[in-house]
């Protein structure tokens, strides 16, 4: 496996602050590399460096055997494309957005038309050519941004939190597109994320980044198998907790994750563990639910985020849990900031990582 890009002792200072700290990284051609880290860890900056938009203060980048310097920066940009976390589209039609990069490369008009059509098909937006890009829904806009980058068939595709602001339906569409692009177009993909599930399923390698420094690079499977201290301390990695497990008579573990919160599980570990509960497995209610689920906690809503058809809530039951409910439910339940609620989830939903 050849490496498509190599970073050697790369450091980047911005206004005398260290944003990237002595990074050495090898990216293999054709792989999907996940970049996992909390907000402010330098993920976006690293992606911009790989997009050749930012120059490092110290260190070296090799791209396809070439050292990246001032002279070839603009040329090499043609080989790499970055898709922002916050979707930014041009104030024009979907077609003009997707065609932008092709026009910059002076591709003939007929070919542009064909390639734009194919790109829109790939992101499941056939027929959207004439629509005003800014008037589309959040998920559709993100797909246009993705098509705009994919159509360029760059060697390297950089994605900054591609599904962070999307509801599960759109998120899974995007994930499919990314996997297809990697498989069929053989694009090397580096994607920054703080979604545990995504980091686990999509990339074949994961690099952990914190405070501008890459602490480990492992295959995705290995990362999640080991109990890495770094993992659980990521504030932004939601519903991940470090705790101590003790076995019950039934042979299953109860994990104390701190602040008096004890979680019942169906696995049989002991000692120091890290656990993860998917937001989709958590039920929110205003009154305590009597059900077969073993884990019921009372808490207060400490954060509300609007994701379009979904609403993301953070409930503090001693430790913060992230829950997703439909907007309708949110309205029906008349929830607001500080409201007292209950969260419920099954013991079998607790995943050990």
């Amino acid at each position: 496996m050849t490496s498509i890009a190599e970073l050697e002792n790369l450091t980047l200072l911005f206004e005398n602050k260290v944003v990237l700290d002595d990074i050495t990284l090898q990216i293999e051609e054709g792989q999907i590399l996940g970049l996992l880290g909390p907000n402010g860890s330098g993920k976006t900056t690293l992606l911009k460096v790989l997009a050749f938009l930012l120059k490092p203060t110290k260190g070296k980048i090799m791209f396809q055997g070439e050292e990246v310097g001032n002279k070839n920066l603009e040329r090499l940009r043609l080989q790499s494309a970055l898709v922002n976390q916050r979707t930014l589209l041009f104030s024009t039609s979907v077609f003009n957005n997707v065609a932008y990069g092709l026009r910059m490369r002076k591709i003939p008009k007929v070919i542009i038309e064909e390639q734009v059509r194919d790109a829109l098909k790939l992101v499941k937006l056939e027929g959207f050519e004439k629509r005003n890009a800014k008037k589309l829904s959040g998920g559709e806009q993100q797909r246009v941004a993705l098509a705009r980058a994919l159509v360029l068939r760059t060697k390297l595709l950089l994605l900054d939190e591609p599904t962070a602001n999307l509801d599960p339906k759109n998120a899974s569409i995007i994930e499919d597109i990314i996997l297809t692009a990697n498989k069929e177009l053989k694009t090397t993909i580096v994607m920054a994320t703080h979604n545990m599930l995504e980091a686990k399923t999509m990339p074949n390698q994961v690099a952990l980044i914190n405070n501008g420094h890459i602490t480990e690079v492992e295959s995705a499977v290995d990362i999640f198998r080991r109990l890495s201290r770094n993992l659980a301390s990521f504030a932004a990695v939601e519903n991940t907790f470090k705790g101590t497990a003790r076995l019950t008579e039934a042979g299953t573990a109860i994990v104390d994750i701190g602040n008096g919160t004890q979680i019942e599980t169906t696995f049989d570990k002991q000692g120091s563990v890290s656990v993860f509960i998917s937001p989709q497995d958590i039920i929110l209610s205003k009154k305590s639910l009597e059900s077969s689920a073993r884990n019921v906690f009372k808490g207060k809503i400490t954060q509300i985020s609007d994701l379009g058809s979904l609403v993301k809530l953070t409930v503090d039951v001693g430790k913060p849990f992230m829950v997703q409910i439909t907007k309708r439910s949110f309205g029906d339940m008349s929830l607001n900031f500080g409201a007292e609620v209950f969260i419920t989830f099954k013991a079998s939903s607790v995943q050990e990582i």
Binding site: L53, N84, S91, M104
Partner: protein
């Protein structure tokens, strides 16, 4: 009572009605001028539009690169330069007119060009006047574009030059507004055109300078008539520009979007 000198009967009117009469006279005179195709009036209108139009084009050409450099680059003293242009919007036209007069007079530094009291001087003078206005509004418009836009253009393969043009396009509404504002200021100003143009009948006179001249002579009806013509022209042009940008505005006649 016969007038002491002309011998004709003088009309003594109740206080206050004299000037209402003037305004009515002015409205009638305005229609007369337009519809009888009075060549002097048409000449003044033509010169007004031509001088202000060319001046605006010049000012847009000067202002756009300045606004691009200031808003797209980071440098020390950026806020000072931005405040300078904003402050220059308030430059009194007579003061600028005087400064340019001293530049263009034959005895002055640019006198060898022989531009004083020529159409060229009026055009250049008005262009200098409105450039700070266009620069300031354009900077605002460009800065309102998402700061990541430049990087987005670059990552998609745009060169620096193409990327800055892309940012300009995203700021287009604001930039067009800045240009229209410049034109409105140019066509309505008096001080510069008067001082450097000399208000020479048939050569450098424009609507504003002629309004001033006729007021000075006491011919208020003609002054008001020209004033009405000027207002109609300015409103007309602005209306055309609004409709050209968004033809649907005509249909909804400016109703709020549902």
């Amino acid at each position: 009572m016969p007038h002491p000198i002309s011998g004709r009967p003088s009309r003594a009117l109740p206080i206050g009605t004299k000037h209402m009469n003037e305004i009515l006279d002015g409205i009638i005179r305005a229609f007369q001028m337009i519809f009888t195709g009075d060549p002097t009036v048409y000449g003044v209108v033509y010169r007004t539009l031509f001088f202000s139009g060319v001046a605006t084009i010049l000012a847009v050409l000067w202002a756009t690169p300045i606004a691009m450099l200031i808003s797209l680059k980071d440098f020390r003293g950026k806020s000072i330069i931005k405040s300078f242009f904003t402050a220059m919007i308030g430059m009194p036209t007579v003061v600028l007119g005087l400064i340019l007069f001293l530049f263009f007079t034959k005895a002055g530094p640019f006198g060898f060009l022989g531009l004083l009291f020529t159409p060229g001087a009026v055009i250049l003078g008005e262009a200098v006047l409105v450039t700070p206005l266009i620069v300031s509004i354009a900077i605002n418009a460009i800065e309102a574009v998402d700061p990541e836009m430049l990087n987005l253009a670059r990552t998609l393969g745009a060169s620096e030059s193409q990327a800055s043009i892309t940012v300009l396009k995203e700021a287009l509404t604001g930039i067009i507004f800045s240009d229209v504002a410049g034109f409105n200021r140019a066509i309505a100003e008096l001080g510069v055109a008067l001082m450097v143009g000399g208000n020479i009948a048939g050569l450098t006179d424009v609507l504003t300078t002629d309004i001033s001249k006729f007021t000075s002579r006491g011919d208020f009806a003609t002054a008001i008539a020209l004033g009405i013509i000027l207002l109609v022209i300015v409103f007309g042009i602005n209306l055309i520009i609004i409709i050209a940008r968004n033809p649907r505005a005509l249909l909804t006649l400016g109703k709020m979007p549902q």
